[in-house]
Structure formats: structure tokens, C-alpha cells
């Protein structure tokens, strides 16, 4: 609980402090739907200095701070349930500086991903990190979770595009990390420690982001693949013969939800259990050649190719709208990954567990197969209440995560850990690793004010 006198001190630092219920409810929550937001207040700082002063105050009066960006997180990383002060970056949304020689842009943490993508395009360049929520998600949140998305296969993660950071540590110190340098061999790269730290070491307030050249015209191909285990063979064929930018997969259950809820047309006359979406540099001959190889091998039974920019977008909607289409069913999301080469074996093992342990639940599969990343969503039966559903899912998750662990995979490929996956961290990280992470947190945030209770 933050007392009224401390709230006044916060108001003195940053004019905009909201304590009304509606702001607290919206800004105290991300896309995760398992928590009830309960913050003391929401502050909208406008400068790094203001954020620094707020952190110092949190140390002095011992209250927790929860960062809030585009609130599209799926692991409860930006959820305030213990009367914390929510620090929203909505008002720190300026693009500060562009340099054509460096191909880089310096932005405040609250800049929305799509705004940056469009800014880059207007400069004749390209910011390749992209995902379904790019219209809302903010750069600061992308950095705090090392966001991946749909172009990882070709362009890597958010980490690969950040050349500098300005952060406020849990002590309230302001650090400028790496200064936009490409080469900088001067010891520990604290920038990379902050990327993916989920706000537990400090808050990112500014970033230097690298841009690249536009890949040019892309084709999007949708393929009907009857057997899940053939998906990786299809990936290999396309990787060898085309210049891939994305390789995604989803199940027929997922497709039916998207068609129904997003009012899209049916892509194939005959349904197939699984589908693959391939995006590659436009090359019709190469695409038809791989397609023939894949059909000859029996992996693929049908396929369509986009013929226009509009169709590129339409095809992507079959994949990108899945998350939104199943949201009304309060999905319990497993965001898991293994090495790409292990995917077929892993898929078979997980499928086996799911079939035996979730016979009464509806399962929606989709994922970034090209990155070894699978999203396994369990839909809540309408008659079940949330607590019962969550408890049951957590129980079954343990056996799924056991499989992940035995494949030395990750229990959270790109959604982060937050509150939701915190107690599962041990499936991917060893005891000593977790202890080392805790010790590191102590260095940057000795009083545990930065996003307390998340990740560790």
C-alpha cells in the first residue's frame, strides 16, 4: 500500500499519477487473464530522470514497481497484484534520433513496434522484429522480454537489433549501455543482461535500434500437411530451395477458430489436420519446385500461393489471428521450444502426453516451427470456472514440462516467465543458474522493488 503522502511525492516527480479504478484495472494488467489487477496507482513519467526519481522513492518507502508497456504480455510479467505502483511508458513514446549511416534509430521505451516499423519504411529501411501484437506492443516491453515473433527464422530476436540501452537500475541509477556501438569488447555486456530481464533488474527507458534493408517482394504460401511429424521435412525442403523469411504451422482446430471468429474465407476445399505458412523471397519457379518435391514425398497434399500484397496479408491472418480468435476461451498457453532438429520427436512425445492427459480439453496447436517454438493452447471448457481450469492445467503442465526438460528445451520460448511461469523455471534452468540469477538481481535491485515476484 502506498500512502497518500508518498503519492504526493510521486506527483511532485511526475505530474501524471492516476489512482482511479479504470486506469488501475487497464494498466495493472497485460494480456494474461489469470490475475486480478490491484495496483495502488499508475504513473506516466515523461523522462528517464523521472523514472530514476520514482525508483529512488520506491527504495526509500519500500514499495514495488511494475513496468507497463503495450500490455500484450502473456505470462503476467506486467501485472500488478500487490498494490504496486505501475510505471507506464505510454508517454515516453518519442522517436529521438535517426542516423542513415549507422542505420539506427534511438527511441524511447514507449514507442509502439508498428510505429517503428513504419518509421523505418519511410526511411527506406526495415525493422524486422514482428508479431501479431506489433500494433500495441512497445519497444521497452519487447526488450524486457527479448521478443521473438514471426521473422526470427531470418532476422533473429529483439536482442539482435539493440545496439544501445538507457536503463534505470533498481537503485535508481541511470546506465547508458553500449552507446549504439557495433563493436565493443570491454567486458561484461550489461545491455544483454537487461534484454530479457522482464523489468526485474531495472527499467529500460531508451534504446538504440538497428535497422536493415527491406527484403523486397515476398510470397506467402499456405500448405496442407496431414501429418504433424512431416512439418520439419517440409521446412528443410523449403529452406534448401527458397530464401525463407518465416515458417509457421497451425492445426485445423486453430484454423477453424480463425475462420469462424475473424470471418475469413476457407483456404482449401479439403481440410487437413495441419497447415504450414511459408514466407519467402518471391520466386515462383522455386516455390513450385519445392511444392512438387513435397507432394511427391506425400508430406503436402495441397497448397496456395499469394498473388498480391493483399493476399500476403490475408494468408498471414490465418496464422496471426489465432491468438485473438481463441482469447474468449481463456486459453492456457504453453510456449515451449526445443532444438529444431528435435521437433518431430518432441512433437510426437508431447502429442502423446496431451492425448492421454487432456482427453476432455480442446487443444489448439500453432507455432514457429522454423525456430523450434511451439504454442500449445488448452481451451477452457465453458462450464469450468477459472480456478479449477488453471489448477488442472498446471497439473498437466508438469508432465508436459517434464518432456520439455528431458529434451533440454525451454518452458518459455518467447512469452517470458513473469508470474505465470515462475514456479516452472526449474524445468529449464538449473538450481545453480537460478541462484546466480537471484544474486545478480541483488546487485542491481537490492531492495527488490523492480517488478517484485516476477521471473525469480
Amino acid at each position: 500500500m502506498i500512502s497518500e503522502s508518498v503519492l504526493d511525492k510521486i506527483r511532485n516527480i511526475s505530474g501524471e499519477v492516476h489512482t482511479d479504478n479504470s486506469t488501475c484495472q487497464t494498466h495493472g494488467l497485460d494480456w494474461t487473464r489469470f490475475y486480478k489487477p490491484n495496483p495502488s496507482a499508475v504513473v506516466f513519467p515523461r523522462t528517464t530522470q523521472e523514472v530514476g526519481a520514482i525508483v529512488k522513492l520506491a527504495n526509500e518507502y519500500n514499495f514495488g514497481l511494475v513496468p507497463s508497456g503495450g500490455r500484450t504480455g502473456l505470462s503476467g510479467g506486467a501485472v500488478a497484484i500487490n498494490k504496486e505502483l505501475v510505471v507506464s511508458f505510454d508517454k515516453m513514446n518519442k522517436i529521438l534520433e535517426f542516423d542513415a549511416v549507422d542505420c539506427s534509430v534511438r527511441v524511447e521505451a514507449g514507442v509502439v513496434t508498428r510505429t517503428l516499423q513504419e518509421y523505418a519504411r519511410n526511411k527506406g529501411l526495415y525493422y524486422p522484429v514482428d508479431f501479431a501484437s506489433s500494433g500495441s506492443s512497445q519497444l521497452g516491453g519487447n526488450i524486457a522480454t527479448n521478443a521473438g515473433g514471426i521473422k526470427v527464422l531470418r532476422y533473429g530476436l529483439t536482442r539482435d537489433w539493440i545496439s544501445g540501452l538507457k536503463v534505470v537500475t533498481g537503485r535508481g541509477d541511470i546506465l547508458e549501455l553500449n552507446h549504439g556501438l557495433i563493436k565493443n569488447a570491454t567486458g561484461y555486456d550489461l545491455r544483454h543482461l537487461y534484454i530479457g530481464s522482464e523489468g526485474t533488474l531495472g527499467f529500460v527507458t531508451e534504446a538504440s535500434v538497428q535497422l536493415t534493408t527491406d527484403p523486397g517482394s515476398l510470397s506467402v504460401v499456405l500448405l496442407a500437411v496431414p501429418k504433424m511429424t512431416d512439418v520439419v521435412a517440409v521446412l528443410r525442403a523449403f529452406r534448401e530451395q527458397t530464401s525463407l523469411t518465416a515458417f509457421e504451422f497451425f492445426s485445423d482446430v486453430a484454423l477453424q477458430y480463425v475462420i469462424e471468429h475473424m470471418d475469413l474465407s476457407v483456404p482449401f476445399s479439403k481440410r487437413s489436420d495441419y497447415y504450414v505458412l511459408v514466407e519467402c523471397i518471391e520466386d515462383d519457379d522455386a516455390i513450385t519446385n519445392v511444392f512438387m518435391d513435397c507432394t511427391d514425398s506425400g508430406w503436402v497434399v495441397d497448397g496456395i500461393v499469394s498473388q498480391s500484397g493483399q493476399q500476403n496479408k490475408d494468408f498471414w491472418r490465418y496464422r496471426e489471428n489465432i491468438s485473438e480468435a481463441i482469447t474468449p476461451f481463456t486459453p492456457y498457453k504453453n510456449d515451449i521450444s526445443v532444438r529444431v532438429s528435435k521437433v518431430p520427436e518432441f512433437l510426437a512425445a508431447i502429442q502423446d502426453k496431451v492425448m492421454s492427459q487432456y482427453p476432455d480439453f480442446e487443444i489448439v496447436w500453432f507455432g514457429h516451427i522454423g525456430d523450434g517454438n511451439l504454442h500449445l493452447n488448452i481451451l477452457k471448457p465453458i462450464s469450468w470456472d477459472l480456478d479449477r481450469f488453471k489448477q488442472r492445467c498446471e497439473k498437466v503442465s508438469e508432465s508436459i514440462l517434464g518432456v520439455v526438460s528431458s529434451f533440454r528445451g525451454s518452458i518459455s520460448a518467447e512469452h517470458g516467465v513473469g508470474l505465470l511461469k515462475r514456479d516452472q523455471l526449474r524445468y529449464t534452468r538449473s538450481e545453480i543458474e537460478i541462484a546466480t540469477m537471484q544474486a545478480l538481481k541483488k546487485v542491481f535491485d537490492p531492495n527488490d522493488v523492480m517488478n517484485p515476484g516476477k521471473l525469480l
Binding site: G216, D302, G303, K313
Partner: protein, 250 residues
């Protein structure tokens, strides 16, 4: 019965159009090109008529540079039977295109010609009408529904303030509106089959048509940039702005 459809090569609908620095036209360098979306609807309609056994053959025509073959191939993949390209590097304007199409109509004698109601680049909406006049046949523009029976096409047209249903005797020219149908996607098996379908190539000279432009473009300018909106903090501020800045309330 034969149907002739068109497939104009245009700058893709989703491309951000850039005007050339010298204001002489639009930058077409490395820009994605596609079939005019209204022509896609024409192609789809023709293919559906053939699938319903109302017509025997669907011929697709494009006019322009050699690269227009890509758009013809797309139409062939969507179900057209053969293609005709009238190849020219000249800047093509509606009257010249209508004359070329009329020459093709003379050769092929189709009972039905379906075109997009306009192309999304020039937005002229002239070619179909001119073609009907040149060929001396009926026209039904802005179609949202087409029914064929006994040498007569009953066409529902989208007009200002409602719908109009007319019947025209075949042969006739029909131009398509958005709601006529939803075009299918090109399937890979059909794209492969389309590679084997024939495309005949003519030049305007072969057809005896002079395609010299009649209209000279003086200047191309981008639309005026819209000013960014602002977010007001209070209702009072909003009312104040509406009253004193925008002056829309007294």
C-alpha cells in the same frame, strides 16, 4: 460460349505509392505489381460460369509490357483456359486499350466480355464502356450479380442509392463491382497446370491499331499530407478547440 476477361497489371494495392521527384509520374522501380483487383473479380466470375457449364472457354487478355505475362499466368492459374498478350511499351490509355480489345473481340467472337469496372491505378472507368461502343454491343456496368439464360444476361448493377437490374442481349460487355464475388486463391497444382496453358502474343501493329497516347500528363502530385490529430485532456478543452480553433460550434 466463349468469355473474354481482362487482367491489367497494376501497382499492388498494398504498396505505398511514391511520386517521382520530377513529378512526371509514379515510381514503379522495384514496386510489387499485381492483377487489378476488379479484374480478379471478372476472372473469378468467368471461371465460375465455366464451372457451372454456362460457358466453354475463358480467354484472358492483358495489354502492356512483356511482364504482363505474370498477370496472365495468375489468371490461368485461377482457371482461365488461354491467354492473349498485346505487347507494347507505349503508355496505354483507355481508348487505345478499348480499340485493342475490340480487335481481339473481332478475332475471337466471345459472347461475353467481363472487365473490372476500373483499374486501381488510373481509376478511369472508361475501357469497358468504350469497348461496348466500339463493338456496337450492349453494356452492363458495375455488376454485383450476373445470370445467363437464353442469350440474355440479367445483371444487377450497383448504382447511386440502390441496385438496378437490367437485362442485356449477348454479346455484351459487363464490368464488375466489388460485391460480385470473392475471388479464390491460386492453388499450387493449378499454378503448375497454368504453365502449360498457351499465351498468344500480338503487337498493336499486328492488330492494326494506333495506340499513340491522346492525353498528355502534365504533372503528378501526391495528395496533401494530413495533419496529425491531437489528444485533448478534458471535455472543456475539447469544447474550447471545437469552438475557437475549428469553429464548428457556436
Amino acid at each position: 460460349m466463349k468469355v473474354l476477361v481482362t487482367a491489367k497489371r497494376v501497382v499492388d494495392y498494398n504498396v505505398n505509392i511514391r511520386v517521382l521527384n520530377d513529378n512526371s509520374g509514379v515510381d514503379l522501380n522495384n514496386v510489387k505489381m499485381s492483377v487489378n483487383p476488379f479484374d480478379e473479380i471478372a476472372i473469378e466470375e468467368a471461371v465460375r460460369l465455366r464451372e457451372a457449364d454456362k460457358v466453354e472457354e475463358v480467354i484472358v487478355v492483358s495489354v502492356g509490357a512483356s511482364a504482363c505475362q505474370e498477370q496472365i499466368r495468375t489468371a490461368l492459374a485461377l482457371g482461365a483456359d488461354r491467354g492473349i498478350l498485346v505487347e507494347t511499351e507505349e503508355d496505354m490509355q483507355p481508348l487505345a486499350v478499348a480499340k485493342l480489345l475490340n480487335a481481339i473481340v473481332d478475332k475471337e467472337k466471345p459472347e461475353l466480355i467481363i472487365l473490372g469496372k476500373q483499374a486501381i491505378d488510373g481509376d478511369n472507368s472508361q475501357t469497358g464502356q468504350m469497348l461496348a461502343a466500339l463493338a456496337g454491343i450492349a453494356q452492363a456496368t458495375f455488376a454485383s450479380q450476373i445470370e445467363l439464360k437464353d442469350e440474355v444476361a440479367t445483371v444487377t448493377r450497383e448504382i447511386d442509392g440502390g441496385l438496378e437490374t437490367i437485362s442485356v442481349k449477348l454479346p455484351a460487355v459487363i464490368t464488375t463491382d466489388l460485391r460480385l464475388n470473392e475471388p479464390r486463391y491460386a492453388s499450387l497444382p493449378n499454378i503448375m497446370k497454368a504453365k502449360k496453358k498457351p499465351i498468344d502474343i500480338f503487337t498493336p501493329t499486328d492488330l492494326g491499331i494506333n495506340v499513340e497516347p491522346r492525353v498528355k500528363t502534365l504533372k503528378v502530385e501526391p495528395p496533401a499530407e494530413r495533419q496529425a490529430g491531437i489528444i485533448v485532456e478534458t471535455v472543456e478543452e475539447l469544447v474550447d478547440k471545437l469552438r475557437n480553433d475549428v469553429k464548428v460550434i457556436p
